[in-house]
């Protein structure tokens, strides 16, 4: 999967949930959305991208969300 595309997608999701001032809730919502709607191979790829390449291009909150909820996404 093209990681850059996934980054764009995650950023879009994060941009929506970011309206909530509660950062933990945002991270949970972002991860929950990925878990609920993404094919596992996409989730694995974004986690791999974060693990191996530091998740360059991800919004900060998105990066945090993936790191925080890494296990849930795999």
């Amino acid at each position: 999967m093209d990681a850059h595309k996934l980054v764009k997608m995650v950023n879009g999701i994060a941009a929506f949930f970011e309206a909530d001032p509660d950062r933990n809730a945002v991270m949970e919502s972002v991860a929950g959305h990925l878990k609920r709607f993404w094919d596992p191979r996409m989730r694995r790829e974004i986690v791999r991208f974060v693990d191996e390449q530091g998740g360059e291009g991800l919004k900060e909150i998105a990066l945090l969300a993936i790191r925080t909820h890494r296990d849930k996404l795999l």
Partner: protein, 946 residues
């Protein structure tokens, strides 16, 4: 006129709690107040002669055949225009009445050709019938009198003829055009004996006529007559079925001669259309028997090879073996299926079942992905159900109608007619659209507000509207308190009241003057029942889902939900968008919108299907393309969907398709996707199979087989065969059994059966023990999810922005006479109205670029370039250009980008930054497209390079 006779009460039915008792020909009759004497008489089978009256139109009183005698009244009142009164005594027959009726009929016939035996209406002509009924035996007027017998026929419309020599000037056509269709294209020209029906002093094709067929249907003679009836003669039987075009889901009577369709007539009892139709459903069904139809299965090993016609067994066997080979080589998740909103509920259900049970994964998606997936997400999140809240008839109770990003008169014409009727009755209209759609101003309809926003700024505008409502205290606090989650509401309220959401703050983003926004918000919140109707101009954005939730927020905060006349109403583009979504076509949801991760739900399916189901979501369509390019997705079963034409960023899609090893296309025609296919399974049209469609108002209607499948098998039978070949046999003898299985497994469908649909005509789901006859209006006492949930909808600008290189915003839409990718309508005479897609550009933008009307222009985006002819129009605002996307060679999707809705990946078709320049020749893409087109045609049997 219906060939296969239906009762006609002469004037429309009236509903009233007050009942009137009167006496007709000595018989006591009780009817609702407001009923005409004619209709009351029809109720006791006293058929008063009539020509200008029909129960689909208001009484007119012109033919004077229906005169009656009423005790105590002078003269001979017309029974169509005379309303019943208590104690009235009516005589429908007397010597004097007989003489008057004959006298009038004698006048009619004195100006009518006497060619009954060779007339196409022979045997189905009301004039002929009435001449018999009144006992006309001679016409005493000399035959050298002035007449209209030599007036020239107008055959310009491809579907019907207008023969004024047969016209009796009853105005039924004019009235149908006004009352039923609301187009006002027809009029009576001249006075007195020179009065004649005219589409405005020009021929029908050049006129304002939208060819809905209402006039033809209303005509009591052969004056307006379907060419198919002229050619084939009167039909011998009729079968009620459902139109396969847009999401209105009109009920039709297929009028047949043997297994040949003579004409399609809208069904008066159809509850979505009430006897009305549009040019597509009424006339554009000829594609079903078009010579381009592929009637034999075909296979080939590679897409550069010639197609080989094979037996069904071989084709299906080959497809199954390829899928199994790919799964063995690349993994279980390397194959998937795509269902179609064109296909029936039953067919869709089977395809997703095949993917989940036979493929063993959740890689199933549907074309709703690219249209209304945000509706599913947004409405489910806020209200709890992925569906529109109302029935169409609800609009008759609306006082304020808001149309957002939809163009009903083009894309949902039959519902638009109903909406226009309500608007003519005085309901107020707010249009939110970057383009000046017809509804903004048309005969007897004018929007109170047209908020002409910039493409891509929906959420900003919606937030501004809600801001005004809350800040100005126009909201329904009581409704919110009773019906919605308080915490979510408080959070949303705090957000929406922020100054950055005010119309003044948003003005520079949306381009809509703040005062207009305030006015519209006040009207919506305080104008009585307010109903929102929206289309793909809402969903096909990077914030599509956000916007849907914004709409739901606004409806909730004003209490405009849960009763007739209000609601949130997605206008679905295709006949079965709602149904295909209901049937579990999404990779994360089983039928009835239940997540695949829910073990209880999964267990119910596992038990019924006898397989273990995958608990993780599968790939969405755009992800499938990405995975294909990635090498992890290699096989695809596509039923009735042309992804190569309809999905965005065509170059990306075709690269993905080229990289796959087995694409199975099941379709009527060799479509764009089939050019990349390895197996072609001939599809069956809606005329060739049994099933059900679910329209935009959740109405499940029957599709009935009126002719045998041209290729021998209905689509559902093909899926069953493919599943069997994959080692997962399904056991159905008839689609009704598939519906039984759907009902068994889906709580919202548990009360649905073919038997019940046949009995009730149609059913709106939810249909279960709580609502055994279905649910016209949802969320009446509480929301499906319990309490309504407000969602904070921050405006996030799309990444697709204008720049010096791409200074214009391209948006797209549909036109009345064509339908989506045009596979059907391009194969009908509808091309007479729209034979090419054009680029609408504001004269100011055109002037700057040296573009004149009709010039070829190149349209270039970050994704690609295509060439179209330009139309200069002020419908679009400066800075915005627009095109339809019905012709594949237009390549509208060559320029659209991969931007998509954050929640559902629904593509952002509605916003593409482009540059437009004069062009001398087709774009590179179009040249390649042309070559490829020719090459693929050569690969078809009978075209072989032998």
């Amino acid at each position: 006129m219906y060939s296969v006779k239906e009762p006609d009460g002469g004037t429309p039915r009236r509903v009233s709690e007050q009942l009137i008792t009167l006496e007709i020909d000595g018989v006591r009759v009780v009817v609702p107040a407001g009923t005409s004497v004619m209709r009351a008489a029809a109720g006791i089978d006293r058929r008063i002669p009539k020509l200008c009256a029909t129960d689909t139109l208001e009484a007119f009183g012109s033919c004077r055949l229906c005169l009656v005698e009423i005790e105590g009244r002078r003269g001979y009142p017309a029974s169509c225009t005379t309303l019943v009164e208590s104690g009235m005594k009516v005589r429908t027959q007397s010597e004097k009445l007989a003489k008057l009726r004959r006298g009038t009929m004698e006048l009619y016939i004195s100006d009518h050709p006497l060619d009954c035996l060779t007339c196409p209406a022979n045997g189905n002509c009301e004039l002929q019938e009435m001449a018999g009924v009144v006992g006309l035996r001679e016409v005493r007027y000399a035959d050298d009198g002035e007449n209209h017998l030599n007036v020239v026929k107008d055959e310009s419309n491809p579907y019907f003829t207008f023969d004024p020599s047969k016209c009796i000037v009853c105005s039924r056509c004019v009235r149908a055009c006004e009352e039923t269709q609301g187009t006002f294209a027809l009029t009576v020209l001249g006075r007195g004996f020179d009065s004649k029906i005219s589409p405005g002093n020009q021929d029908f094709l050049s006129s304002e006529c939208v060819s809905c067929g209402a006039c033809v249907q209303a005509c009591p003679t052969a004056t307006l007559m379907e060419k198919s009836v002229v050619d084939k003669g009167q039909p011998d039987h009729s079968i009620v079925t459902t139109c396969a075009y847009c999401g209105v889901g009109c009920s039709f009577r297929a009028e047949m001669k043997g297994s040949e369709v003579v004409r399609m007539l809208p069904n008066k009892d159809g509850r979505a259309n009430h006897g009305h139709s549009c040019v597509k459903g009424r006339f554009a069904w000829g594609y079903a028997t078009h010579p381009d139809r592929i009637k034999k299965p075909m296979i080939r090993r590679s897409i550069t090879e010639a197609w080989r016609e094979v037996s069904w067994e071989e084709a299906i066997g080959y497809a199954a073996s390829e899928f199994r080979r790919i799964q063995a080589k690349y993994g279980r998740g390397a194959v998937g299926g795509i269902t179609s909103s064109r296909c029936s509920n039953e067919e869709t259900f089977l395809v997703q079942k095949l993917v989940r049970a036979a493929f063993g994964n959740n890689n199933v998606d549907t074309c709703a992905r690219v249209c209304h997936s945000p509706t599913g997400y947004g409405l489910k999140t806020t209200l709890g159900e992925s569906a529109g809240t109302q029935n169409f008839d609800s609009v008759q109770d609306a006082d304020v109608i808001v149309v957002i990003g939809a163009n009903p008169t083009e894309a949902h014409p039959v519902f638009a007619s109903q909406m226009k009727r309500r608007l003519r009755e005085g309901a107020k209209l707010i249009v939110i659209d970057p383009r000046r759609i017809d509804l903004v101003r048309m005969p007897h309809v004018e929007a109170s507000y047209h908020l002409q926003l910039l493409p891509g700024t929906n959420v900003a505008l919606m937030n501004a509207l809600a801001h005004v409502v809350v800040i100005e205290g126009l909201h329904d606090e009581e409704f919110v308190r009773r019906r919605c989650e308080p915490a979510a509401y408080e959070k949303w309220k705090a957000f929406i009241c922020e100054e950055r959401n005010s119309p003044e703050a948003m003005e520079s983003i949306t381009g809509v003057p703040a005062a207009e926004v305030r006015g519209a918000a006040r009207l919506y919140a305080t104008g009585g029942n307010a109903a929102i109707y929206y289309g793909l101009g809402v969903t096909e954005h990077s914030q599509g889902s956000t916007m849907v939730m914004g709409i739901a927020n606004l409806a909730m905060v004003t209490g405009n939900l849960g009763r007739p006349g209000v609601g949130v109403n997605p206008l679905r583009g295709q006949n079965n968008v709602q149904g295909s979504c209901d049937m579990g076509s999404f990779p994360h949801e089983l039928p009835g919108y239940r997540h695949v991760s829910d073990p209880v739900v999964r267990a119910s399916f596992e038990q019924d299907w006898g397989v273990e189901l995958e608990p993780e979501p599968g790939l969405r369509i755009p992800n499938m393309f990405d995975a294909a390019l990635d090498g992890s997705f290699k096989g695809l079963y596509v039923q009735g969907e042309d992804i190569a034409q309809s999905d965005p960023d065509t170059k990306h899609v075709t690269r993905a398709l080229e990289s796959m090893e087995c694409i199975v296309v099941q379709d009527l025609f060799v479509n764009e996707t089939a050019k990349f296919a390895h197996v072609f399974l001939p599809g069956s049209s809606f005329l060739e199979k049994d099933g059900t469609f679910t329209n935009a108002e959740r109405r499940i209607s029957r599709v009935r087989k009126v002719m045998p499948p041209l290729a021998g098998l209905s689509d559902w039978e093909v899926t069953v065969a493919l599943s069997a070949a994959l080692g997962y046999p399904m056991h159905y003898d008839h689609p009704s059994q598939i519906m039984d299985e759907i009902a068994r497994l889906t709580p919202t469908f548990s009360g649905v059966s073919y038997e019940k649909i046949d009995r009730l005509g149609s059913i709106q789901w939810p249909c279960n023990d709580k609502a055994p006859e279905g649910t016209p209006v949802m969320h009446e006492d509480e929301f499906v999810r319990g309490k309504g949930r407000f969602v904070v909808t921050g405006y996030v600008p799309t990444d697709e922005r204008t720049s010096r290189k791409f200074p214009l915003l391209l948006t797209t839409g549909r036109i009345l006479t064509q339908y989506n990718v045009g596979a059907q309508t391009r194969r009908t005479a509808n091309v007479a109205w729209h034979h090419e897609d054009r680029l609408e550009i504001h004269p100011h933008d055109a002037e700057q670029r040296g573009i004149r009307d009709g010039d070829w222009v190149g349209v270039q985006s970050r994704a690609g370039e295509t060439t179209l002819r330009a139309s200069l129009t002020e419908r679009v605002q400066p800075g915005v250009v627009y095109t339809t996307f019905h012709h594949p060679e237009s390549g509208a999707n060559v320029v659209t980008t991969e931007n998509a809705d954050w929640a559902t990946s629904c593509p952002e078709y509605k916003v593409t930054a482009v540059q437009v320049k004069p062009a001398a020749e087709p774009s590179m893409w179009q040249k390649r497209f042309g070559e490829q087109q020719r090459a693929q045609i050569d690969l078809l049997p009978g075209h072989g390079r032998s």
